[in-house]
Amino acid sequence: MIEFKNVVKRFGKKIAVNGLSMTMGPGTTTMLIGPSGCGKTTTLRMINRLIDADGGDILIDGRSVRELDPVDLRRSIGYAIQETGLFPHMDVYGNIAAVPRLLGWPEKRIRARVAELLDLVTLDQSFGRKYPLQLSGGEAQRVGIARALAADPAILLMDEPFGAIDPINRSRLHELFEIIQGRIRKTIVFVTHDINEAIKLGDRIAVLESGSLVQYDDTQRVLDDPANEFVERLLGSDRKLKGLILKRAGDHAKPDGYGVASPEDSREKLARLVAAAPEGFAAVVGGDGRLKGVYTMPTANGRPLFNASPLAVDESADLLESLSVMVSAGDSRVLVVSADGALRGVLRLADISGEIGGSPRKEGGA
């Protein structure tokens, strides 16, 4: 747990952080967001004493950081930054091993730990012998995260770690980040200027403006109830839509409105199932529980038509993503499947509209 108590930092005459008090609970991801110069990076860097506060105090698990040797403190806290800051003259193994070596771990323990971390960040073991110049941006950032986690710190500080990564790789890293944090449950403080990133990754969001804390709340609360116009503008006019990022398709899929058939069913039975289903389709589920496809009835008295790859999203997808899949396919529903391919249910446009809080939109020709 990290506690800021009335922390003040000045650079010359300029006040960078102005009487900041906040508590970051154990195992939570806190996003620090605000425009450049708002003090978010300064706030982060005061935690591991890369910058020393001028007033107030910062406590880690009840102990003031002032009482700790800065170097020991930094070795006990994970630190990942933009552009990764990997050491170009060391291979990936050497980079990940950096902090354990500073701490004097035996080489055998380091080897095991590096192997474990490469697995965690989904890099093949062969990456250990590569050099940073041989890595793509996304791979380098994975190594950066592995290095930050090397000595298994309770706290992880991340300073816009995905800021320089292209959108596709960034969203992959976001997914990886969520999976890793789900497993390791560190106390993470994460600086970003990207509100979508803050909503996607943060349990709580702290909005800073010119060195002051404007709002510090659970992500959902910030979206539902922005403290002032500044926060509202930061969230953008589509903040209701952004709330969809927090919701999972699996939680809103309904296992009704369609027929369930097996691959052995007769054509007549299929036709009856499709006709009886309010949604007008029957899902074919194999003996292994996996979704094989759907039958629909394109014309009133025609034969049922089989589609082996119906529109579907993973149950872990968020609702905004699901909405965008629906909209780009011109459909008003999408099937939701689990990671092992089992059908969880159907997600309808009307349900998503209900989650946005507006009235369900008219469903167009498609």
């Binding site: 930094r74 070795r75 990997l86 050491f87 170009p88 003259h89 110049l133 041989q134 930050a148």
Partner: protein, 215 residues
């Protein structure tokens, strides 16, 4: 033809001068290297980078001073003999070493240094394990130009009693012995090229692998 005759006839003298020349070079370079790197490290450890900037400008300006002027000053200060010759060479080869070492250390990616400090390297560890290896090639560039300059300037140091290949050149000039002048000039040029090539091989072998690797 007459050059070959001269070389054959004076082989022991030429060999002596060459060995003497290399001694001057080795002694002065060793001192310059130790002093230069120590100075660069000391200056680069000062926070703010102001000291580093000042030293870099002084070193840069110093490289413009003609070698004969440095030799002349060494003569005024220390008189004639080996000592003033070595001193002049030390001073003269210091500038490129310090210039490159300080600017090379300063040019190390700030993000890399910030990360090193952020994950818990001490200042001394940042210098030894991060900055010096990353600046190695730039530092070697300074060492190589210092070595080349040193061999050349060592010929001039003969005028204040340093000995070496400069003796051949200057006595040849006085006695109108073109072959002696040519021999001294050619051998010192050859030495400079050989030493530079050896240093290039060392630089390549000792450079951190990760910096030159292809994708």
């Amino acid at each position: 033809m007459r050059l070959i005759q001269y070389l054959a006839a004076n082989a022991p003298l030429i060999l002596d001068s060459t060995v003497r020349h290399l001694e001057l070079f080795a002694e002065s370079m060793a001192v310059s290297l130790v002093l230069g790197i120590a100075l660069a490290v000391a200056v680069s450890s000062r926070p703010g980078g102001k000291a580093a900037k000042a030293v870099v400008s002084v070193a840069a300006a110093f490289q413009a001073v003609p070698s004969i002027a440095v030799v002349a000053i060494a003569f005024l200060a220390l008189g004639i003999g080996t000592k003033p010759a070595v001193a002049a060479l030390v001073v003269y080869s210091l500038a490129p070493i310090v210039f490159n070492a300080v600017s090379g250390i300063a040019a190390v990616d700030r993000g890399v240094v910030a990360a090193a400090v952020g994950i818990g390297y001490r200042q001394s560890q940042v210098l030894l394990r991060i900055k010096l290896p990353l600046a190695f090639r730039v530092i070697m560039g300074g060492v190589r130009s210092a070595a080349t300059i040193n061999i050349g300037t060592a010929t001039v140091a003969a005028v204040i009693g340093g000995g070496g290949l400069g003796d051949l050149i200057f006595s040849g000039l006085k006695l109108r012995n073109d072959e002696a002048v040519l021999a001294g000039a050619m051998i010192s040029a050859l030495l400079a090229m050989i030493i530079d090539a050896l240093l290039a091989v060392f630089e390549k072998a000792a450079s951190p692998r990760g910096l030159s690797i292809k994708r």
